[in-house]
């Protein structure tokens, strides 16, 4: 099966510090569902940054969508970023824009006209339970509401790769299940999903998902083969 992402001996360090990621070798198969887990400081967020092209590796090679992008010129990156949806741990919503405008942003960046934006955004906001909060700005939304806006923004463009950093950290169990249902539904439609989480319950509730476990910046699997999730606390 084709790989949406291929990491080959990838290492990452910030500035002159020690490597935060070392010798990462793995492939993410197109249309698969992955959980990225590991203790705090293991390098999960750094790995996600490499995946959504916010960071370049300091060594090794990364292929996304079949293209070698480790040293690609920065002008070449935007078209690939548009194929990736990202749910940030800190939401990264633009404070002075309404929830509607935040969710509509990827569509507008993609060149959609206003008349083509209204319907999908309203539908997505309704799906995450924020239809009546469309004009609210992020500072007036609760943490959970902000997280749902962030998720709606990440999936509005039907990305080929969806990367989520602790996407259910600020929502209740019911909303967490609904959001995971959305991720699963997108995965069934062909989107490759990578979710970084500590929530074992969430991992166990997603049958068929695979697990990437990081510890001290390296994959915890001597063979480099990705495994199915465990049934117990990691």
């Amino acid at each position: 099966m084709a790989a949406v992402a291929e990491f080959d001996s990838v290492g990452l360090r910030y500035g002159t510090g020690a490597e935060v990621l070392r010798d990462l070798d793995f492939r993410l198969r197109t249309g698969s569902f992955y959980f990225l887990t590991g203790p705090s400081g293991a390098g999960k967020t750094s790995l996600l940054k490499l995946l959504y092209l916010a960071q370049r590796p300091t060594r090794g090679r990364i292929k996304l969508f079949g293209e070698e992008l480790s040293e690609a010129p920065r002008e070449a990156l935007p078209p690939f970023r548009r194929r990736i949806g990202v749910v940030f741990q800190d939401f990264r919503l633009i404070r002075h824009l309404s929830a509607f405008d935040n969710v509509a942003l990827p569509l507008r960046v993609n060149g959609a006209h206003d008349e083509d934006v209204e319907g999908p955004v309203r539908e997505m906001l309704a799906w995450v339970g924020l239809a009546d909060r469309a004009s609210a700005r992020p500072p007036t939304l609760s943490g959970g509401e902000q997280q749902r806006v962030a998720i709606a923004r990440a999936v509005i463009n039907r990305p080929e790769l969806l990367v989520a950093d602790e996407p259910t950290g600020n929502v209740d169990a019911d909303m967490a299940n609904r959001l995971m249902g959305l991720f699963t539904a997108m995965n069934r439609l062909g989107t490759t999903v990578v979710v970084a989480t500590h929530d074992v319950g969430l991992i166990n509730a997603t049958p068929g998902a695979q697990l990437i476990r990081l510890e001290n910046g390296t994959l915890v699997d001597p063979t480099g083969t990705l495994r199915n999730p465990p049934r117990s606390t990691s």
Binding site: L53, R56, R74, P78, H96, L105
Partner: protein, 289 residues
């Protein structure tokens, strides 16, 4: 090419903040005001220099010492010289009347030696040496003075001032451009988070730049026009003294071409500011991934 000028309200909301907020419109307005006044001065000086230059190029004066008792003969001698196109005698009494403005009754004193003058215009092929010799034969001590020799230093100073004015316009334009660069960098810092988010979801540098470019164009246009309007008011006030200026300069004023240049200056400043802002923003964005 200019589609970035016409963005949707949603795109305008991306940068937030009030329209004409920040110091940029004010800085540009002050620059525009100064540039307009200095440019108007430079153009007026250029116009004056050209007018003075034209008027003195072929003008000569025959100075006749001792009151010009033989003024009539001298006028005839000048008129008879080939190449002389016009002639005007200024008798001693007219000279004394003119001097009275500065000297008072003393100007009529016989102890004050006042020459009579014969001003004449001539073509370039006029033979001045024989004319001067004939004049001396009639009135010893008579001599011909070319206006371009006597007024030349003044004309040189006028032209120098004109170039100083244009140099100042250039310097102020550079200062305005530098202010725009600082404003663009400030705006980038203010909106760094928005830019990061936009880049993260696949916005290109050009898309981000267009937002800033348009905002700075509007700020610069508003500032330029406001400054130009204020400068126009000042110039109109100065023009109320134009009669006096006209007397001093021989009627030199700002012509239609000069006025067109002045009218275009605010727009030129706006284009400069927008181009500088675009370049600064693009350069700054390229430092990020």
């Amino acid at each position: 090419m200019f589609d970035w000028l016409f963005v949707s309200p949603a795109e305008r909301r991306l940068l937030g903040g009030p329209r004409f907020g920040g110091p940029t419109p004010w800085v540009i307005a002050i620059m525009s005001f100064s540039i307009m006044l200095i440019a108007a001065s430079g153009l007026a000086l250029a116009s004056t220099a050209a007018l003075v230059g034209r008027s003195i190029e072929a003008r000569y004066t025959l100075q006749v010492p001792g009151g010009g008792a033989n003024l009539g003969k001298l006028v005839e001698a000048v008129r008879a010289t080939p190449g002389v196109t016009s002639i005007e005698a200024v008798p001693e009494r007219d000279m004394r009347q003119t001097l009275e403005r500065w000297l008072g009754p003393e100007a009529q004193s016989a102890e004050l030696p006042v020459p009579a003058l014969i001003d004449f215009d001539a073509t370039t092929d006029v033979k001045l040496t024989p004319l001067e010799q004939r004049a001396r034969a009639i009135t010893p001590g008579a001599r011909i003075v070319a206006h371009r020799d006597s007024v030349g230093p003044l004309l040189h100073s006028l032209r120098l001032l004109q170039w100083v004015a244009f140099g100042l316009v250039l310097l102020l334009s550079i200062a305005a451009a530098a202010a725009v660069v600082l404003a663009a960098r400030g705006a980038l810092d203010t909106h760094r988070f928005t830019i990061e988010v936009m880049h993260g979801i696949g916005a290109t540098d050009i898309q981000v730049t267009h937002l800033f470019q348009r905002k700075i164009l509007i700020d610069a246009l508003a500032g330029s026009l406001a400054g130009a309007f204020a400068a126009a008011l000042v110039l109109l006030l100065l023009a109320s003294g134009a009669a006096l200026a006209g007397e001093l300069t021989g009627g030199a004023t700002l012509g239609p071409v000069d006025l067109a240049v002045l009218a275009l200056l605010p727009f030129a400043l706006t284009i400069l500011a927008t181009w500088v802002a675009r370049t600064a923003v693009l350069r700054s964005l390229r430092k990020a991934l």
